[in-house]
């Protein structure tokens, strides 16, 4: 979405685009809402400092998304001892036939996304959630389209591997796990 430049104040921009930016931040932060809101505020504060320049650009949101992606990468890079993310919280593999299984499959994919390295996750979010082209993603991340392509390919391959591993270890419907807790 483009906002007419002449009317663009920082407040108008935030009111118009904060929801969209928050969704991206949620995906970048592994769906941790508190972290996503923090990330969004960090990115917007940085943008606010440069707003006199950003507001004159043709697409201010592109700048802010760039800041958001960088802030996310910085944050993950510094969280050295972040806990491993479990992909088996619901004991449900990614493949199933009914509606609830589709929801579980979606949930599984998002958790797998959150478990990816931050660079790969950022590429997938920009490509498939923000619907940016490879060229636009590369421009936004300050790398080459080839890097975006290879990062996306690796990330998708990793997701497929995780799915395959989960499918092979998922409990069989015929032999459900027995609860050992009372």
């Amino acid at each position: 979405m483009r906002i007419p430049r002449a009317e663009l104040s920082f407040e108008d921009f935030v009111r118009a685009r904060s929801s969209s930016l928050l969704r991206t931040a949620l995906l970048l932060s592994g769906q941790n809402r508190a972290e996503a809101e923090d990330l969004l505020q960090v990115a917007l504060e940085r943008a606010y400092r440069h707003w006199p320049r950003i507001c004159w650009s043709e697409e201010p949101e592109r700048y802010v998304r760039r800041i958001l992606a960088n802030a996310s990468t910085d944050r993950w890079r510094r969280l050295r001892r972040r806990p491993e993310l479990s992909l088996h919280a619901t004991n449900t593999g990614p493949v199933s036939a009914d509606h609830s299984a589709a929801i579980a499959d979606r949930d599984y994919l998002l958790r797998a996304l959150a478990a990816l390295p931050p660079g790969q996750r950022t590429v997938l979010v920009l490509r498939y959630f923000d619907d940016l082209s490879e060229a636009a993603t590369a421009q936004l991340l300050g790398c080459t389209p080839g890097t975006v392509k290879s990062q996306a390919a690796r990330a998708l391959a990793r997701l497929r591997d995780l799915e395959a591993a989960a499918a092979s270890t998922a409990p069989s419907p015929a032999a459900p796990e027995v609860a050992v807790d009372d």
Binding site: E37, P52, R80, G142
Partner: protein, 427 residues
């Protein structure tokens, strides 16, 4: 599009599309964060008391005005000048949440330039905890360090006002209680010498700086023109004067320069030629430019514009996101935040790099740094970000370091006015 791409896209949209942000709450959070950085106090000016006088051993470096070859000599291949192994080692992980060092025995006589939303500006002195108003400023402005003081543009039309909205431009000398009006235009930026600033303006017909040519002219800090007008290349703005050249950057900045490396060009106003470019500039002093080559493992380079020579420093460069750093007013000291998050000071005269222990903080804690009044006293301020465990604002820390010090001198700030000043310190 493959199956997994389709499913991933559907999953992300199904999960995220219902999510909404509370814009007003976001705005409040952004402004709260920003206040901590720069809104209440747009700049910090400090005079060093006798107790913390600058060691005489740090000689100021004189910059000759001798014209020199403009072209930078090809920098030597990044030759790792290996510093003492301990100096560049990463700090322990996870990073601490507070700065560490020696306690301040006595509170130094720091002098902060404070600007209220009403436009009133004042000097706040930490030793006496008193404020001294600065006369002659009529509207809120953003302050920018120039040699010998602070410059501000009183943007009466607001930030979104087009370039042709002229602002009144002022200079506040360090410690002065009256601002001097330099002229009208868009902004003032530092020159290569004390007592002079560059004034940048646009023609009245310009409504957007895209592809517009700005005009610059050197003024004395008392408001007298010192040289002719120069018209900048279209789409560029002036960063500062470096030697007899002007350092320019794109306007608006390219995407990669917003939060990453700054691309800049060194321009000769007399020949109207770009004589050098810097894909990743860290900062510029009155006669030198610190920049990082865009190659992994390369060291930060320093260009002396008078000689045209570039030399490698022991500062690890080649960072994809660039390094943040700041020159002292005289250009002899460069403070840089290393990739390890530690602050390090490079002395250009002695070529020594000093990593300051206790300066690396976790990402949740904000930290600003800069040279006091352009002196050789490095001031670092820190506080917890949005994750304070001790209260909504948590403790703030004020620290300083001077050449020769082994550790920071650190104090916890409790006085309300001082907290505001410290929180608003902007490097």
């Amino acid at each position: 599009m493959t199956d997994i791409e389709q499913r991933l896209r559907a999953a992300m949209h199904a999960a995220m599309d219902p999510e909404e942000a509370a814009a007003e709450q976001v705005l409040r959070g952004v402004y709260r964060r920003h206040r901590r950085h720069s809104m209440l106090v747009a700049g910090l000016a400090v005079l060093i008391s006798a107790a913390v006088a600058i060691p005489a051993a740090i000689a100021t470096r004189s910059f000759s005005g001798t014209p020199a070859p403009a072209t930078r000599q090809t920098p030597a291949p990044a030759t790792p000048q290996t510093p003492a192994p301990a100096t560049l080692q990463a700090p322990p992980q996870p990073l601490p949440t507070t700065m560490s060092g020696l306690p301040m025995a006595t509170r130094p006589n720091f002098r902060f330039l404070i600007s209220a939303d009403t436009g009133q500006a004042a000097w706040y002195t930490t030793a006496t905890k008193q404020t001294k108003p600065i006369a002659g400023l009529l509207a809120p402005g953003r302050y920018q360090r120039v040699t010998g003081g602070w410059a501000t543009a009183l943007l009466l039309g607001g930030w979104t006002c087009p370039p042709h909205c002229w602002s009144t431009l002022y200079f506040v000398a360090d410690g002065a209680t009256r601002a001097s009006q330099i002229g009208v235009g868009r902004s003032l930026v530092a020159s290569d010498r004390a007592g002079a600033v560059w004034l940048l303006s646009y023609a009245h017909t310009i409504t957007s700086p895209h592809n517009a040519s700005a005009s610059v002219q050197l003024f004395s800090t008392t408001g007298h023109a010192l040289g002719p007008h120069y018209r900048l290349p279209a789409g560029y703005v002036l960063v500062r004067g470096v030697g007899r050249y002007l350092l320019l950057t794109h306007y608006p900045p390219r995407v990669e320069t917003i939060s990453g490396p700054v691309a800049a060009a060194l321009w000769d106003p007399r020949s109207r030629r770009v004589v050098d470019t810097f894909p990743s500039m860290i900062d510029a002093g009155p006669g030198e430019i610190a920049w990082s080559p865009q190659c992994r493992g390369c060291d930060v380079q320093l260009l002396n514009v008078a000689t045209g020579k570039s030399m490698a420093t022991p500062i690890p460069g080649g960072q994809p996101m660039g390094l943040s750093g700041s020159f002292s007013d005289d250009g002899t000291l460069l403070v840089v935040r290393l990739p390890s998050q530690q602050l390090a000071v490079y002395n250009i005269s002695s070529k020594a790099l000093t990593v300051i222990p206790g300066t690396a903080l976790s990402d949740d804690d904000w930290q600003n740094f800069g040279w006091m009044n352009g002196s050789h006293t490095l001031v670092v301020t820190a506080g917890c970000g949005g994750n304070c465990t001790t209260g909504p604002d948590g403790p703030d820390q004020l620290a300083y370091w001077q050449p020769g010090d082994v550790q920071l001198r650190v104090a916890t700030v409790t006085d309300l006015a001082e907290i505001q000043a410290v929180q608003s310190w902007e490097s």
